[in-house]
């Protein structure tokens, strides 16, 4: 087992594609929005390793049940740890779990943000290295091994990519992964066997400030509420029409305040100008980054401001 782990040191990562597709050579799975996690079961103990190859065993004590539930001597499972918020996977929530390291605080947060382990692959079983087996073989071993429980779920496969993508998008989930039949588990990104397509998602934000280029607005500072506090979650430089940009460039300086409205940005931050958060926006983005900001935010429209709507789920 130790030599196996030293040999792989990376998880297999899907390659980004712009559009969903249908193909007989592939099957399709939901891309669960969480943190990637290998569960290494050995002699009744479970060790968790994330995609940066850091040990995360302490963060998710509920995963220790796996050893007993799967009744195996040794196994390495690949999957995603997911936390739901309002019935949907929430990356910010799983990050709260992932970044809690104090044992007592873990005990507390465990009850508020319970996890789900969404298992999609099996790399090792009872002394046997399964990486070079075809994915269908690994999936069938997994079917015999993993039975759904409150925290443990087998990621299901669908035959069509386009219809799955449409549904996933409609439900506001992260995206899909296409997996090519007959292929081995290839750690890293040097392969064409796993392909991901991501949905753009929406966050309602409050405009909390701006940056300038010359006299014109360069980007808008985005905020959203979390536990009743306004958090800075990135800045958007695209999506404004030139008319909007000119209008904001004349109006926003009039609303300027000294104090930063964000709890996580100091008032003195260089080049940042702050306004009272009273303008709401719908912002599209690709995904949450690990340091909790929006990747590729695009301003879609200005909306009637209701602070309750501008909350991070």
């Amino acid at each position: 087992m130790d030599s196996f782990l030293k040999d792989i040191v990376k998880v297999m990562e899907p390659i980004l594609l712009p559009e969903p597709f249908d193909s007989e050579e592939f099957f399709f799975q939901v891309k669960w929005d969480g943190v990637r996690m290998l569960a290494v079961i050995n002699d009744g103990k479970v060790r968790l390793i994330n995609k940066h190859w850091r040990d995360k065993t302490a963060q998710y004590p509920e995963m220790q049940q796996l050893a007993e539930h799967l009744k195996v001597k040794s196994a390495v499972l690949d999957g995603e740890v997911v936390v739901l918020k309002d019935g949907k996977p929430s990356f910010p929530s799983v990050m709260s779990r992932d970044q809690t390291s104090n044992t007592q605080n873990i005990k507390y947060i465990q009850n508020i943000l319970p996890i789900n382990y969404m298992v999609f692959d099996l790399l090792y079983l009872n002394g046997k290295d399964l990486r070079y087996e075809a994915i269908e073989t690994r999936q069938s071993y997994l079917d015999d091994l993993v039975f759904n429980r409150n925290y443990l779920h087998r990621v299901e496969s669908f035959p069509n990519g386009k219809s799955l993508f449409a549904s996933v998008e409609a439900m506001g989930m992260e995206g899909i992964v296409a997996k090519k039949k007959g292929t081995p588990y290839t750690p890293g990104k040097h392969h064409n066997d796993w392909l991901k397509v991501k949905c753009r998602r929406t966050q309602l934000c409050l405009l909390g400030g701006y940056t300038l280029r010359g006299n014109l607005i360069n980007s808008l500072l985005l905020g959203a509420f979390r536990n009743d506090k306004l958090i800075y979650i990135g800045r958007a430089a695209t999506g404004l029409t030139s008319a909007q940009q000119e209008f904001l460039s004349t109006q926003l300086p009039l609303l300027q305040v000294q104090e930063s409205p964000f709890v996580n940005i100091p008032s003195r931050k260089k080049g940042y100008y702050f306004v009272k958060p009273q303008i709401g926006m719908r912002v599209d983005f690709l995904e949450w980054t690990e340091d909790m900001s929006l990747r590729h935010p695009v301003i879609k429209e200005f909306i009637d401001f209701n602070p309750k709507d501008c909350t991070i789920l």
Binding site: K6, V82, L84, D86, G87, S167, M173
Partner: protein, 277 residues
């Protein structure tokens, strides 16, 4: 566990690549200072005592106070002038018996794990140290810091204790009262010895726990539980993956039925056209 740093043990002609981890953790409960009025965390500012204003990091230099109120400035170039041997190495100097090292020397404990390519040399040194029953005394270099360390084997893992240099150990001679034994009666000694014998047992650390921390944590837990009632945002999630999956599957099924029926339509009209002709 987080890797603290990666480096190598150098032992004779052998270099063993290793990763180092902190082996112990302090579990004292930490508190943040909050401003009573608004419950926001209190921030520490670097403040000049003379100019009465905040100073930024590029306005700060390091001074050594050689006499009360008198400083000499030591700048980055001065630090760089000190010759540094290989950084990030653990240089084994000697092998000694553990019993010769008094626990007063031990400072912090780290685990050393072999990195790729170092496994064999690592297990070789572990085996040899187990056979001889010796521990290694080594110098470690981490960035600009140099310290002394003792390396020993426990459960087939190399454990490194940083140890103090002799001039860092205070002498008991400077205890304020001094040690004056006075006269001891044989009976007193006998009683003390039998008391020790009665309390003697094997060392089992799991028998001891920090009861103060436990009690403090109970208070904190109770306070958190109390707060749950006033902040609804902290309630546990009720949705579950099974419901989500059912909704998704229903949606996929609907999408596929729609597609089939739209795909059928052109076929249907073609048929009609055929029969019509």
């Amino acid at each position: 566990m987080k890797v603290l740093w990666k480096g190598a043990i150098s032992f004779g002609l052998v270099n063993i690549p290793i990763s180092m981890y902190v082996a112990t953790e302090n579990k004292d409960i930490k508190f943040n200072y909050l401003h009573k009025e608004c419950m926001s965390p209190v921030k520490y500012q670097k403040f000049c005592s003379r100019c009465e204003k905040e100073v930024k990091s590029d306005e700060i230099v390091r001074g050594y106070e050689y006499q009360k109120g008198n400083y000499v400035v030591i700048n980055q170039e001065d630090f760089e002038r000190i010759p540094q041997e290989n950084t990030k190495t653990v240089d084994i100097l000697d092998f000694v018996s553990l019993s010769q090292v008094d626990p007063i020397y031990f400072d912090k404990t780290y685990y050393l794990e072999p990195s790729a390519g170092g496994e064999k040399a690592y297990s070789l040194i572990v085996e040899a140290m187990q056979k001889t029953g010796k521990i290694a005394i080594a110098k470690i270099y981490i960035r600009t810091k140099q310290s002394l360390a003792a390396i020993r084997v426990k459960d087939n893992v190399l454990i490194m204790e940083t140890i103090f240099y002799p001039d860092e150990i205070r002498s008991p001679a400077s205890l304020s009262q001094g040690l004056d034994p006075g006269k001891l009666h044989d009976n007193e000694i006998k009683m003390a010895v039998s008391l020790i014998e009665n309390l003697s047992t094997d060392f089992d650390p799991s028998r001891y726990e920090d009861t103060y921390r436990q009690a403090l944590w109970e208070i904190i837990e109770a306070r958190i539980a109390g707060q749950e009632i006033v902040t609804p945002i902290q309630t546990a999630e009720k949705g579950n993956v099974v419901d989500l999956m059912e909704a998704l599957k229903a949606s996929v099924k609907l999408a596929e039925e729609n597609r089939k029926s739209t795909a059928k339509k052109p076929g249907g009209t073609r048929k009609k056209a055929k029969t019509g002709s």
